[in-house]
């Protein structure tokens, strides 16, 4: 890589940072400092705006770079990931978006405590939300660090460390100064940039193959060296039964986890009504679906044009497939077109990471201030002081995320993302669905279902080959591996549901009919929604 890429990419990225900082300043200029404003951006975004923002929150660099890389290296098996990421949105649309908008105020815990005794449930839901957010955040920070090494050639540890610190500082500035309003606009800008970049690359690919998708697939299969096997499942996850079961576990976590991600749930509160929440999910399904269809094309194109050896040579996990493809599509390494396209793709990837981390930081600071702080210290905190707590919390979360991002810099990014989805599906989804749909659900059931999903999910990871017992694990020297799978979902998700049921049937508490009626009426009609 020549210096031109780096200079241009840095220039473009600085432009993005300048624009987003300008948005933050402009938004915070007339802020009123209310909780409504900070957590929900005043609830006045339109479905179209929120749809783009949801898409911006969801389309992370892991999908843009990671999934295309997986397709370029393993063909069809990369596509399996993409399908799970999209189908998950049906669950959100059918069971979660409208009802959560109607029942809640700012966080997941708001929906659950409407029927329960407040304090223990709020603490539990807040703890699991923060855990999920921090895992997801660390994944993005680690990704940011590796991106610098990959795209700008700054392979030194110092360059990585400074990137993680820089990204962390920027996200804290966005969130603590601009709140939800600034974060939403940053997501929208990023979603537009990412989608335009993807569309441009896809058009160039289709032009190269004269619109013949069949030939693109055939060329990819031929170039991969695997022949027809490249276009069928099995290259990556087709090994022994452990690997296959692991993939089924991951698939379950992906499809059930999205509905429990705190930063996705908080997006539904930024629109005025449940109908607007529904329409924003429709927009985002269209945008996300289109985006993933294009990443499939780009992945196979990278295999066909760049070739798996070149992709693997640049980065063993395949994360540089799209930038390399852009370089080739633009006219090659020494051409102006190639340099420009490469720089654009690199800058878009940075923008993606920056926007996603801002969204997660906001959601987790809301969980800390609105759920944990409010339930653990209840000394008549006024709404205004709660926002102050949230701002401070975002700084604290930024520091924690930077520290963990520096510590965990050698962990696999895709694994961390899969883990965050698994924890969300095990700890957040059962309690959410039970409290929306089960008449007899009780406080003990709610608390048990959160911890009954959260604790097994985390414990199984500690006992998994990721942490110990194999050369690639975090502590290769020791061996306390008792659980064979990398992703705990297939065990911990049913455990979360089971624990919620057990807690409910064993508790002496009589479920409050009136409160259940209130939740049900409010969730389906929107009466009394804020």
């Amino acid at each position: 890589m020549t210096g031109h890429h780096q200079t241009l990419a840095l220039l473009l990225f600085s432009g993005f940072v300048a624009v987003t900082l300008a948005i933050t300043t402009w938004v915070s200029r007339n802020r009123r400092g209310s909780a409504e404003e900070f957590y929900a951006g005043g609830r006045l975004f339109s479905p179209l705006e929120n749809g783009f923002a949801i898409a911006g929150d969801y389309m992370s660099a892991a999908s843009f770079l990671g999934v295309t890389g997986l397709i370029a290296l393993y063909g069809y098996d990369g596509m399996l990931y993409v399908v799970g990421f999209l189908v998950a949105w049906l669950l959100v649309l059918f069971l979660v978006a409208e009802l959560v908008r109607n029942c809640g105020r700012f966080t997941l815990a708001d929906v659950v405590v409407a029927r329960m005794s407040e304090r223990p449930v709020r603490t539990a839901a807040g703890t699991s939300s923060v855990t999920v957010s921090v895992l997801y955040l660390v994944a993005q920070m680690v990704g940011a660090g590796s991106l610098v090494a990959l795209l700008l050639g700054g392979t030194s540890t110092a360059a990585r460390a400074w990137t993680v610190i820089g990204v962390g500082t920027l996200m804290v500035i966005y969130v603590s100064l601009g709140g939800m309003r600034a974060t939403t606009w940053i997501q929208i800008v990023k979603a537009v940039l990412l989608l335009s970049g993807t569309v441009a690359l896809t058009v160039l690919v289709l032009l190269r193959f004269h619109g013949d998708f069949d030939r693109l697939l055939l060329t990819a299969a031929e170039r991969s060296g695997h022949g027809d096997a490249f276009l069928a499942p099995g290259l990556k996850y087709g090994g022994d039964w452990t690997a296959r079961l692991d993939f089924i576990s991951l698939g379950l976590a992906l499809v059930l986890g999205t509905a429990g991600l705190p930063h996705i749930l908080s997006r539904f509160y930024t629109v005025p009504t449940a109908r607007a929440a529904r329409r924003s999910v429709l927009w985002s399904i269209g945008l996300i679906g289109g985006f993933y269809l294009m990443t499939i094309v780009l992945g196979f194109a990278a295999a066909a044009i760049v070739g798996p050896e070149a992709v693997r040579g640049s980065n063993a996990a395949g994360n540089t497939a799209v930038p390399l493809l852009a370089l080739d599509l633009g006219g090659g390494a020494d051409s102006t077109g190639g340099t420009v396209l490469f720089a654009v793709v690199a800058a878009i990837a940075f923008a993606t990471i920056l926007a996603v981390v801002a969204g997660i930081t906001l959601a987790s600071s809301a969980s800390v201030a609105h759920d944990l702080y409010a339930s653990l210290r209840r000394s008549h905190a006024k709404p205004r002081s709660e926002v102050t707590v949230a701002r401070v919390a975002s700084v604290g979360i930024g520091v924690v995320a930077i520290a963990l991002g520096l510590l965990a810099r050698d962990l696999n990014v895709a694994f961390l993302v899969g883990l965050a989805f698994a924890v969300a599906a095990s700890a957040n989804l059962p309690v959410l669905l039970y409290s929306l749909f089960w008449r007899g659900f009780t406080t003990r059931g709610a608390v048990w279902s959160v911890y009954g999903g959260l604790v097994p999910a985390l414990a199984l990871v500690v006992l998994s080959p990721v942490v110990s017992g194999s050369p690639e694990s975090l502590f290769p020297g020791v061996d306390f591996q008792y659980f064979p799978l990398q992703n705990p979902g297939i065990v911990s998700i049913p455990l979360g549901f089971l624990a919620g049921w057990l807690g409910t049937v064993t508790s002496a508490e009589v479920p409050d009919e009136a409160k259940h009626a209130e939740t049900e009426v409010r969730s389906l009609t929107g009466a009394g929604a804020v």
Binding site: W89, L90, G289, Y292, G528
Partner: protein, 151 residues
């Protein structure tokens, strides 16, 4: 009246504005911040609304669409993932040119997601929205009256 039009997105936080007669709505949801009598009265209203035929109709319309819908797409997705991991031979069977069963199934998942999302939105818009909005209006009128008499 604007509220008769279900396409009109009633502003959730602005309920006090459309109401020319009563006192401005108190902040927060029903029950929150209200006095004890107001609270229990509001609870009774929700029970009453929940038992009303209009609400039962909205709820059963919602459930009749959502329950089969979720079962269908989850079965289809889990079936797809399990088949892809356990029977790659079947998935590799060619259909036309480079396109095989696996490719068709994957793109089929995209297609069904789009179609189901569209069908859900259409169902909600045509079969639920108007009734739900009327119920919302009625419920809020009742809770406000109850709270007004309690204070």
């Amino acid at each position: 009246m604007r509220y008769d039009d279900p396409w009109y997105d009633a502003l959730a936080s602005g309920w006090g504005e459309t109401d020319g007669v009563g006192a401005p709505a108190t902040g927060g949801g029903p029950g929150r911040g209200a006095e004890e009598e107001g609270l229990s009265a509001a609870g009774d209203i929700y029970l009453e609304v929940q038992r009303s035929a209009a609400f039962q109709e909205v709820r059963s319309r919602y459930r009749r669409f959502v329950v089969p819908g979720v079962l269908v797409f989850l079965t289809w997705y889990v079936g797809y993932v399990v088949t892809a991991t356990t029977a790659p031979g079947l998935m590799a069977r060619p259909v036309a040119g480079a396109v095989n069963v696996a490719m068709l199934a994957g793109l089929g998942q995209f297609l069904t997601t789009f179609v189901l999302a569209w069908a859900y939105a259409r169902h909600a818009r045509l079969r639920r929205d108007r009734a739900a909005l009327e119920l919302r209006w009625d419920t809020q009128e009742l809770t406000r009256a109850a709270r007004g008499s309690a204070s």
